[in-house]
């Protein structure tokens, strides 16, 4: 049913633009204990690799004034288990399709993992995580070199039928260069921004708080950086953009869509408030009325960035 909150993505009409971001919502079904998750547009699943991974040593979390650093290190039970068990549990409580988030150590692993998800009925699209700053290999380096980013994209695209979203790293000199490269390689959409490489130190021990030293910074503190990068990317490419980075409320959703996002992902806020996505969806009509916005789809990219 089309309504004032609806947006189109990959030919589907989504009820609203709100999608929980990968890594902040598990495999989704546990949030069904808290509210009816069918109100969400979709769900981006926890980052998945071909083989199971334990992830990094603890501590994996460090707090910041307006956000947090995480270094989970892609803990996941492996793609086959995700499709065979986690998606089965999710399908019982979620009647829509989800977005798989795929990470890997090699282009081959990206392809193999994507192929597994490509066959799953409950998957709408595959998001390639080429920007995770928390694991050596399989992470960020795929997202900081335009050639490698394009190669991963092209390889996965030629192996799967479902739409492919490429998730970009902000830890680059020019994000639009990577965006253009993956668009050229056939990406169906771009999501950005992933976390920023960051660090906190325990003042009592002088050691990094995060067990592996550094991690990815997310939350309200990165929102102004995300807005800029979404606006710049929107100017550089024609494919849809899924905007994320520090969204905490319905006003932030509007700002992100003005900057060029067709849909948005809410991340860290889910960890602070398990009802965050529900509250944002419920608050959007009020905020749209206040800002005299009738249809949310009309505002995508309304802000133009000069220069």
């Amino acid at each position: 049913m089309y309504n004032n909150l609806s947006i189109k993505l990959f030919g589907n009409v989504l009820d609203n633009p709100i999608i929980p971001a990968s890594g902040t919502f598990g495999f989704g079904y546990e949030f069904a204990e808290y509210y009816d998750i069918n109100i969400l547009a979709s769900i981006a699943l926890k980052g998945t690799t071909y083989e199971p991974r334990y992830g990094n040593i603890l501590p994996r979390i460090a707090e910041c004034q307006a956000g947090m650093i995480n270094a989970i290190g892609l803990q996941n039970p492996g793609a086959k288990c995700v499709v065979g068990e986690e998606l089965v549990k999710l399908s019982k409580v979620f009647k829509k399709t989800a977005i798989a988030n795929v990470a890997g150590n090699s282009i081959e692993e990206y392809v193999l993992t994507s192929e597994i998800f490509d066959k799953a009925q409950s998957i709408m699209a595959i998001e390639l995580n080429i920007s995770c700053p928390n694991v050596k290999g399989g992470g960020m380096h795929f997202g900081t070199d335009p050639k490698i980013a394009a190669e991963v994209t092209k390889s996965v695209k030629s192996a799967v039928k479902k739409p492919v979203i490429v998730k970009l790293s902000p830890n680059v000199s020019d994000i639009t260069e990577i965006a253009r490269a993956v668009e050229g390689a056939g990406a169906d959409a771009i999501s950005l921004i992933n976390t920023l490489s960051a660090m906190r130190i325990d003042l009592k021990t002088a050691k990094p708080i995060i067990g592996v030293g550094t991690g990815g910074y997310s939350g309200a503190g990165i929102f102004p950086i995300a807005i800029k990068m979404v606006a710049a990317t929107n100017k550089a490419v024609k494919i849809p953009i899924i905007g994320m980075g520090g969204i905490t409320n319905a006003y932030d959703v509007i700002e992100m869509m003005y900057a060029g996002a067709r849909a948005v992902m809410v991340g860290t806020q889910n960890l602070i408030d398990p009802f965050a996505c529900k509250r944002i969806i419920e608050d959007l009509p009020r905020v749209m009325k206040e800002l005299k916005i009738e249809k949310i789809e009309d505002i995508i990219g309304r802000t133009t960035l000069n220069g």
């Binding site: 890594g23 902040t24 919502f25 598990g26 546990e30 949030f31 204990e33 808290y34 926890k46 334990y54 992830g55 040593i57 603890l58 501590p59 994996r60 979390i61 460090a62 707090e63 910041c64 004034q65 307006a66 956000g67 947090m68 995480n70 989970i72 803990q75 708080i209 939350g219 309200a220 860290t268 889910n270 960890l271 602070i272 408030d273 398990p274 009802f275």
Partner: protein
């Protein structure tokens, strides 16, 4: 899990840097060993706290001032409101020791969690072991005395046995089949080496507190588990302590 707004009734220092805060509001369905996550003004992440005691309408938490968040918390006063997630995690399995006299072991703020369990197990006259650093750190001694047979250890030797509480357990001839423990990781590790007949509540630096972020995953004999979701209480024998 419930997301509720609770109101501060009382907030007072009960031993050195250790505070007891009593909150009023909807506090139903909190079992011994479960915990709460509190949003504090000006801090991004919620803070986990274990529950010393709860009724349907009140909840007592014990916390130590260790950083900026708990320092701020210590300034809360009558009528201050808090956004709280309650009923988090899985608590102690009180059925596990049905055939024997329960042994409860607590250290530091973990003692609060043991207190809630002692109340529940009171009828069975539990043996209660409490470890503190020194006399000025001790709290809830009178309260525990009413619930079972208490033994105390302090590192300074000012109260009870001189040394840590696990050393005391080793040297004493306490007769038990199953223990419930909550305390700092060092204490639990010592206990684990000595005996695996029981369950322990773990502490961890958490992101969310309700299973979403995988920030607090530990290795167990049956795979990776989240302290906040499958825990914080685990069977001692399933914990892999070398991680």
């Amino acid at each position: 899990m419930n997301n509720v707004i609770l109101t501060t009734s009382l907030n007072r220092e009960i031993s050195k840097d250790t505070y007891e805060i009593i909150l009023a509001g909807d506090c139903a369905d909190n079992k011994p060993g479960q915990f709460v996550e509190i949003k504090l003004n000006g801090f991004t992440l919620r803070r986990p706290f274990c529950i010393a005691h709860s009724t349907d309408s009140t909840m007592t938490l014990v916390y130590k001032v260790v950083g900026a968040g708990t320092k701020y918390m210590s300034t809360l006063t009558y009528s201050d409101k808090l956004d709280v997630l309650t009923g988090l995690g899985n608590g102690f399995n009180t059925m596990a020791c049905e055939t024997s006299r329960p042994l409860l072991i607590g250290g530091g703020t973990g003692i609060a969690s043991i207190y809630n369990l002692a109340i529940e197990l009171k009828e069975r006259n539990p043996i209660i072991l409490l470890g503190f650093r020194s006399k000025e750190d001790a709290y809830y001694i009178a309260e525990f005395s009413r619930l079972g047979e208490i033994h105390i250890a302090t590192e300074t030797g000012e109260l009870g046995f001189k040394g840590n509480i696990i050393e005391y357990l080793k040297t004493s001839k306490i007769d038990y089949q199953y223990y419930y423990a909550c305390g700092p990781m060092g204490m639990l590790r010592e206990l684990f080496k000595f005996s695996k007949n029981g369950e322990m509540s773990l502490e961890a630096r958490m992101g969310c507190g309700f299973g979403a972020c995988m920030g607090c995953s530990i290795k167990t004999t049956s795979g990776y588990k989240r302290v906040c979701k499958e825990g914080p209480v685990f069977l001692a024998r399933e914990i892999v302590f070398d991680v």
